[in-house]
Symmetry: none
Subunit: 534 residues, 2 copies
């Protein structure tokens, strides 16, 4: 299909997405993300603003050499020429011309007050800046889009002028004019009305660029498409300044799966979940478990009440098949758990507990009972699949997998003399255990007690099982359960461990946060070793 044809999926993660607070991308990060975006099948990847900062200039230089795109066209972003100079003489326009990108998106003011207050030029000169810059780059052989900044606010303030900017750009050769809700304050009905009017009045090809300040970025984008826009801009995972941009994955999934439009090459939407998570690894922004379509919770059900009906027909309880976006239905084992959900969960983990034999029925009863008891004491298995799987193995196989036997452990946290130093406290842990027939006594240091225990434990076990070297504790959460009880409270710890390819979550519970952490650490390593050896 022609991704640069009748409908454009235009990604601006590398430029507008990178405006997000706390998000800092290296050139290597940007190249890695561009490859993922290309794998999703977007038509355009806006790489940044060459000439405006050294990083973006370097990105376009390296992209020209290293980046092979199968689907997308690389796009450079930049501004119209400055007031009072020729487009050909403006060094920033030259940087666009020489970026190596086949497409340039020019940002232009379309709001009269912004022209006067931010650009500090006249309305007429702004039109000339648009006309000259578009015409110049077109003459140099580049495809040109226009981002009409603050368009919706500008349209309200001075409709005639805002439309004149669009007309000027189109007449000079801009193929698309993208209407930008730069401040993000629009609602879907308003967007639809404006897009409809723009197309009716000017006949230009309209694109849409939304921010999420009203929580409506996706809906605003869809409203624009339904009103006739044929070019959608967004960012993966909705990254962006303030509340973020329209999440391009959600937009595309809605277009394809809800509105029956084909906007990506066949089959690529099935990689959406993987790609969204891979990009989150690069940006190091924890992905939202509640993200539409691709979040880890997006198809997760607290099954209790509905488990039996889910068995009959899962589609009664999901808006579409998660496979279409590369996600999975998950059943959470919660304190409302019943037998049916334990059976379903077992099946998900590869244990068929539902053949109806008396043995299986007794087994499911036993597991259900244990889950209820443990959850009553503060465990949660809905987030801790790995701990649940260990419990299941223990009941199914008669014993919990075991690779080492702990004798004792101790962890000391202390400060130096406070009057002479302001150093932080340090922690030191000693673990005594037997693994592979050998007794190990190992001491580890850390910047906290759990860190120190983790170091010591992994060093001790690693002598018998070298594969633990690649395990890494990647997340650690603590929850005090019975708030209001202060020092008597029960503490629940969730630990996520990674082997570099996948990760798993284990749980520990107790009055003592260190003890609870220890349980979760031990489960995490045990589960990882079991998986390595399976």
């Amino acid at each position: 299909m022609d991704l640069q044809g009748a409908f454009h999926v235009y990604d601006t993660t590398l430029r507008d997405g990178a405006q997000q607070e706390g998000l800092n991308l290296t050139v290597a990060d940007k190249l890695a993300i561009a490859r993922q975006l290309d794998g999703l099948g977007v038509g355009f990847i806006e790489g940044g603003w060459p000439g405006a900062n050294p990083k973006d200039t370097e990105f376009f230089r390296r992209a020209a050499q290293e980046l092979e795109l199968g689907h997308a066209r690389l796009t450079a972003f930049g501004a119209t020429r400055r007031a009072g100079v020729r487009a050909a003489d403006d060094p920033l326009v030259a940087a666009l011309r020489e970026s190596g990108a086949g497409v340039v998106t020019l940002v232009a003011k379309s709001h009269d007050r912004h022209v006067e207050l931010a650009l500090r030029t006249t309305l007429q000169e702004n039109l000339a800046m648009v006309r000259d810059t578009v015409a110049h780059l077109r003459a140099e052989g580049q495809q040109v889009f226009l981002d009409a900044e603050h368009f919706f606010d500008g349209y309200r303030a001075n409709r005639d002028y805002a439309l004149e900017v669009l007309r000027t750009a189109a007449e000079a050769g801009a193929e698309v004019v993208a209407l930008c809700d730069t401040n993000g304050g629009m609602l879907p009905g308003w967007v639809a009305d404006v897009v409809y009017d723009v197309i009716e009045t000017t006949g230009v090809r309209v694109g849409i660029h939304c921010h999420n300040d009203t929580g409506c970025a996706v809906a605003n984008t869809l409203a624009a498409v339904e009103a006739g826009a044929t070019h959608v801009q967004g960012t993966i995972n909705g990254y962006g300044e303030r509340t973020g941009n329209a999440d391009l994955v959600t937009v595309v999934a809605n277009l394809e799966l809800k509105l029956d439009r084909t906007v990506l090459p066949a089959g690529l939407l099935r990689d959406a979940t993987r790609i969204a998570h891979a990009v989150a690894e690069v940006t190091n922004v924890p992905p939202s478990s509640r993200q539409p379509y691709v979040g880890t919770s997006a198809f997760a059900h607290k099954a209790g009440l509905h488990a039996s009906a889910i068995k009959v027909d899962p589609n009664l309880y999901q808006h579409l098949d998660p496979v279409t976006v590369g996600n999975d239905m998950r059943l959470l084992v919660s304190d409302m758990a019943g037998r049916a959900s334990i059976e379903l969960k077992g099946r998900e983990l590869g244990f068929d507990l539902s053949d109806g034999s008396p043995e299986d029925k007794a087994l499911v009863s036993r597991i259900t009972q244990r889950v209820k008891e443990l959850e009553a004491r503060g465990h949660t298995f809905e987030a801790a699949d790995a701990s649940f799987e260990l419990l299941l193995l223990e009941e199914v196989e008669g014993a919990r997998p075991s690779y080492f036997e702990v004798e004792s452990w101790r962890v000391i946290t202390e400060t130096l003399d406070r009057r002479s130093t302001s150093d932080e406290a340090v922690s030191e842990a000693t673990v005594k255990l037997r693994a592979g027939g050998v007794r190990f006594v190992v001491t580890g240091e850390g910047n906290g007690p759990v860190n120190a225990l983790d170091q010591a434990l992994r060093e001790a076990i690693g002598q018998a099982y070298p594969e633990v070297a690649k395990f890494e504790l990647i997340d650690y959460k603590v929850r005090i359960l019975d708030q209001g009880h202060g020092t008597d409270a029960i503490t629940r710890v969730l630990i996520e461990t990674s082997d570099g390819e996948s990760s798993w979550v284990t749980v520990g519970v107790g009055h003592n946060v260190i003890e609870a952490s220890w349980q979760a650490l031990v489960d995490g390593l045990t589960f990882g070793l079991r998986r390595q050896q399976a």
Copy 2:
């Protein structure tokens, strides 16, 4: 204004929101959240399903005794009677009747296949279940709403039956029928069409309940209102199963600030940011910095390009004034942020910092700077008033209040030999400090390291200041800030201390959870002593 009148803002955080993966609320949590919701001015707080599980039953029992609501009405959620029994004889209906809640929201099937497959009864009996249960509870004096589950899917599958369920409920006395997009697959245009048709065809009063599976929960809710719905359901921070429910804060802000509808008591929307964050502290779900209206990034600008224009007219760069929702504009590369809120906060604590003298201006600058530095390192003063007040005192009075001087501390957590015992780990702390001119070396034991430190610290200080005997650590929260960094993470601890009459919250931050806890403990005792002596 009449919050239970022409337009309903209906919160279901405590019931549907609690379905979120990983979210587990205690009864005390639920009571604390209900108080916050009441502070926002919602009309209805759905507290849970009495009779369905012991926690919710206990919640309604305690709510009847402890929960004083100024704005909202407490609402009980439950199902229509079971097939084949009288409503008066169904124990779950009895639990609703006896919940003490003045309002009951009954969930009913309106999708024919769900009636047959999940309820396993006939379409006729389902109608009778709706009619009987509504009529029974109305006769017993309760106000009744109906949640029409899976309504939108049901409407597509069998419009006549779906409408018949609504009519039946309304005729039996249900005041509102809320159309639920239970699977969350709708888009705004579809919702508007259905709501319009329902109102045209049946004349019932319509409510709307949306999930965010297409990223359109907020827009769908607004579309329903624009089509005539006069009752909106949602959850604070958008908590909920899968991708969550419609974020009630965003919905309400859009209704009030974008669509000019008055749906909350005057002025309360200005507490939205504080309340959203306070609830997040209770749920221990890290708030999204990109959350519309109330996120910490929602009005944050990477100012570079626009700084001067922002100074001329900030409204050129924001969709509305953040003060309207209690948030602040933040300029990420400048130090303009925060002065106004520091002044406000100071005034709240009894320090007038805004008289305009050069000294006061310098003081506010200094405090603002320190708050920003500390917040950049992970502190939060939103929840930790007492720590902020200590910082303020330090700057205003030239020195931090100090009642004791810590020399050093140490805490050991260890297990006995694991092979011979299954006892939990024990912790022992030793604190060395000077108070009232005397040096104390005290060792305390506890069921966790912080508990042990707290014991030792209070015993040592108590010898010089007997009043600490009545201080009690009543809540302890831990949050890992930079998730994904595993063992390198920064930890934030919030500790709530009580003197039996009031309580105060202090914060500590560091790589080491014990060190962070220590800071918060010391601040907590210092603040308490200051208050006793003031």
